[in-house]
Symmetry: C2
Subunit: 649 residues, 2 copies
């Protein structure tokens, strides 16, 4: 089966460039605030093909150029090649797009067995995707699907018409304007749609104009003028993804939360994992790092995770942190290690290895004599929107750096490189972190030792738990002195709530987590949310909920980082987790956390695992072996294709 | 005066990308064989403008984005700014082109005082050009001029019509095809135009089609079918450049040679200095290095030299030699030093300094313990199309490297960097070159010490003369044992003939050089050449002259590297040369070299110098001071604006 081929990861770079230019605000485009790379525009592909028989081969190019077949330069077209060995080369040049080649003909067909070069003297395995298998396919067009989505109501108000699509969606509108020009405002909230001057996304149609408007986030659409002046049809634009993960339980609200999280996550799962579909419509490494985990418990679409990782990294030279943020560069490294642990896909690690090395070189070039990553001009030490003490060297960053160095050491082996240097740096850094940041008196890690404030935050100590800095007594102290200590400032963003609830789950506090989810996510649903918001503060009321960053409707009401319940309910309630690399073994250790019953599915790289619990009985099934059901102090193997039961005492 | 601004050197990168994709061959595009970079597509410009009064400022963008004026985000448009300080930012995103900004309004106007960033955290002075001063100008369009150029004759032959434009030209053709499809063949030679199957550039018009064909090199155009089936008009496309240099003498043939060289050079002086207008239509650093010198004695268009230098270097990371050729990387460094010596333009050096450093780091990473640049996989050690001995380390490359290291040391000072390391490396390398490559017995430098062949070529010894490896007795020995030694293989390319004739000129052998020019260049004119060919071998006949690289009409018949007589006649016959940096002082030391009389003009950065010689009398004039006329053993200062005479004894 032939596939269109391109320079490795240039598909991601090209679509990322386009994506990051699409954000709109008050009628103008708001370009992205970090460096945007473009694909190479002049690429050569090659393969030594050995044909078992005579083959008619059709060569196509997205761009201009020529072929070299057995040393002879020829235009693109169809050629009959005799049996035996042939040296094939396809040169493609596309100045304003993504140069790609396609050959369809037995062993000469284009796929990942071809190599590509940007003419820098080096060859790499070509990039390709199952999306593009036909000669008429165009890899510059992302394969979104479209479905008609009519509004559920129309209300004549404020000299115009307010259309309600019933829930948050992402749609392109084919519009036709009558004799009066029309102003359009898109609203994630009703208030936003009705407030043209403050609506983030808006448009204008001239009298008599007919136009397909670009796809945008909305629930409400307000159009000025009489209803008969403006006619339109809307189409939902989405990436067709299979909902492999599922969750149902005795609490109807929790079911609605899971559904809303899954839908929010789907809306943000496009070329790459977005932060939000209205704002920023960009790819942020910290947000994406959590999306990879949610993805594993919902779609398990490996392509989406790999595309996002590749797009975030962009091209050489690496001269600034991913998204300009130190922690986001480090998450990027961690995400590759976690992706490998989850899938065993060493090829992907190898294909990115050089980019991992140059990124880590950049990070290490900004460390001090203790190995601490310190802030440099132009760097953003983020961690979270919270009053952390980041002076000189933030503890949370050092923990990420140590873990990232360990990932480098692990991945070096896969890439055939020597990772000892990374391993030693990581070990030394772990010692220094313990020495400088652990406060025995407070029984917790402090944010910074340089300021003298010795501030203790949940953030830093959550990372201590997550990245192996809290073994034995330290762990107990952190739980008591930080997590269970109301005097320590609470987490306020769903972004870090992800890590906090994950930590509570790890401690087995499922009942607490269930109540947290019902309160925080349930609170949004009670206010009519049909997708999860970027932030939620129950103390606010009305349109106060929609303001952010100084804009009246600046808040994203469909933000991927709020989808964590899908991950938490799948991994800790249904309890399906890998027990060794690439799910070679796995456990199902369900926890009802106060629910009467629950049932659901967790997708794994080896197949879907089904779990059902009610009262004292748990059952599990998987189409592959090596699983163990753990329940009520007992455990039992899960044979492939069979359903096993356990009953607690 | 406002100018459009862009990220520094992105104008050059963008036009270079387009240029290098235009080469055609047998009906298909032949993409360039080295890495092609693209401009950044997402750029921010800024300036702190202090307005003396209220200003109406019109902001425009080539692309999409927005402004930030004093912290407030606003769409592009016209704004009235009050007197005083304003923080101005313009964000521009253009995915398929060159993002540019324009502001027109007093002290807020865009020009080189604005800064630009590609969002990598660093700001640089913005790029701009006098070409683009009006809001309706588009920096994506190169400002070529067009003039109607009708064919001088039409001949019905071979079932079609052969149009002759009278001389080599570069033209776009607006064509209209009648009821019969037509095949077009472009010919730099009559033979090529008449041989559709082998003509390098060809096209096809469908019945009834009307089309503006892309500009191409040609003298002859052959169109199949009856004359009335095909109508067209042609326009000469060129960069309007002033012919500041001039040369006339008592030898009419030499005058025609100068004219033909100047015209050939003009045809190749476009966005950048091309090698040839039909083939390759690319920018090669070795060819360009000579073009900078010719330019100094003809157009003295500094913009063209700077654009070419910037385009050749492209973007980071530097992972392969310029044009893939080791010597071409080194010429690039040398060209910056020579440009500075000629103009005193330190700003240009500073703007490229980081790129010089990374290029030199790359070169040095490929040197051995003696400091010799050796060949690495993917590198091309070229020097010339000649049977040189390049085993392990070619002497000519080491000489270029030593000179390039000295240029680095000189330029470091201008950039405020420490150049001592380069200086030391250069000195050590010079010693090693003398030790390993000077053959006292042969009284010459050998090409390579590794092969044991101890081959002596003109090339290596010409470089010894040119780059200061032949002082005193060594120089005399090289002249006797190599240059004046018929047993040493002759130079066969006009490319290296440049350096050979320059060396003869430096020795004062003008009569010999005149006869060489008349024989070699005159030989082409005798065969009807209207532009200088890529190579010329008088032993060939007829269409043999047009073949190259295995193609029947593969030779370029309009090749810039053949324009050296313009440089040689200006610098050594008219004798106008700088005596110190940036022409602060200069000499006019004419030499008739066997001519009865000559007169001409040499453009300098300070103004045009006029020279006239007849028999024993020489006269010179310049509109600026500090010149010296040297003639017949005497010398006299040239006061500004006066003509001085000297008569030889």
């Amino acid at each position: 089966m032939a596939k269109w081929i391109w320079y490795p990861f240039d598909y991601e770079v090209y679509h990322s460039l386009k994506l990051h230019a699409r954000r709109e605000e008050y009628g103008y485009r708001r370009p992205c605030c970090w460096r945007q790379d473009d694909c190479w525009h002049d690429v050569v592909f090659r393969k030594t093909a050995v044909l078992a028989g005579e083959r008619k081969v059709r060569f196509c190019a997205n761009g201009e150029g020529h072929l070299v077949i057995d040393g002879q330069r020829l235009p693109y077209g169809e050629y009959v090649l005799g049996p035996g060995k042939h040296e094939l080369e396809a040169l493609v040049c596309k100045l304003d797009g993504l140069p790609c080649a396609y050959a369809d003909g037995g062993e000469a067909s284009t796929d990942e067995s071809w190599e590509a070069t940007c003419l820098d003297g080096r060859w790499h395995p070509a990039g390709c995707s199952d999306f593009y298998r036909e000669p008429e396919d165009n890899p510059e067009v992302f394969p979104f699907a479209y479905e008609p989505i009519p509004p559920v109501s129309a209300e004549e108000i404020n000299g115009g018409v307010l259309y309600d699509f019933g829930k948050e969606t992402f749609a392109r509108i084919a519009a036709k304007c009558g004799g009066v020009p029309a102003a359009l405002s898109y609203g994630e909230s009703r208030e936003e749609a009705l407030d043209h001057a403050n609506s983030i996304v808006r448009d204008r149609m001239e009298a008599g104009e007919e136009r397909l408007l670009p796809p945008r986030a909305l629930r409400w659409l307000f159009v000025t003028g009489p209803r008969e002046n403006f006619s339109f049809s809307a189409e939902y634009e989405y990436l067709p993804l299979e909902y492999r993960g599922a969750f149902r339980c005795s609490d109807e609200k929790l079911n609605r939360i899971w559904d809303t999280c899954a839908y929010t996550f789907h809306l943000n799962s496009r070329e790459f994992f977005l932060d939000g579909i209205k704002r920023d419509r960009w790819v942020w490494s910290g947000d994406a790092y959590q999306s990879y985990l949610v993805n594993n418990y919902l779609f398990r679409d490996g392509g989406l995770t790999r595309r996002t990782i590749a797009a975030l990294r962009g091209k050489e030279p690496f001269t600034r942190h991913i998204n300009t943020i130190l922690d986001y560069s480090l998450y990027w490294v961690l995400s590759i290690g976690e992706y490998y642990a989850d899938t065993g896909d060493a090829g992907f690690v190898r294909s990115l290895w050089e980019k991992m090395v140059s990124l880590m070189e950049f990070c290490l070039s900004r460390t001090d004599k203790d190995g601490f990553a310190t802030e440099h001009p132009g760097d953003w030490v983020f961690i979270d929107w919270a009053p952390l003490d980041k002076e000189y060297a933030a503890c949370a960053e050092q923990m990420l750096l140590a873990a990232a160095l360990e990932t480098m050491a692990d991945c070096a082996q896969l890439a055939g490189a020597d990772g000892q240097g990374y391993r030693q740096k990581a070990a030394a850094l772990r010692e220094k972190i313990a020495e400088k940041f652990w406060d025995e008196e407070k029984g917790a890690y402090i944010d910074s030792f340089a300021s003298g404030k010795r501030l203790v935050t949940r953030h830093t100590n959550l990372f201590a738990l997550r990245y192996g800095f809290a073994e034995g007594k330290k762990r107990e102290k952190i739980l008591r002195n930080v997590l269970q200590n109301d005097a320590v400032e609470p987490i306020t963003t769903p972004y870090f709530k992800f890590y906090e609830l994950e930590a509570w789950c790890e401690m087995g506090e499922l009942d607490f987590v269930r109540r947290e989810i019902l309160s925080y996510w349930g609170g949004m649903l009670d206010l009519g949310a049909t997708s999860v918001w970027e932030t939620f503060d129950p103390r606010e009321s009305g349109a106060e909920h929609y303001a952010m960053y100084g804009d009246k409707f600046g808040k994203s009401l469909c933000h991927a980082w709020g989808a964590s319940p899908v991950y938490l309910l799948g991994k800790y309630f249904l309890g399906v987790k890998p027990a060794s690399g690439a799910w070679e073994t796995f456990t199902v250790e369900p926890g009802l956390g106060g629910l009467e019953w629950m049932e659901g599915t967790v997708p794994t790289p080896r197949g879907d695992v089904k779990v059902r619990c009610r009262g004292k009985i748990a059952e599990a099934a998987a189409p592959f072996p090596s699983g163990t059901l753990v329940w009520g102090g007992k455990s039992v193997p899960i044979p492939a294709g069979e359903t096993v039961f356990l009953e607690a005492e």
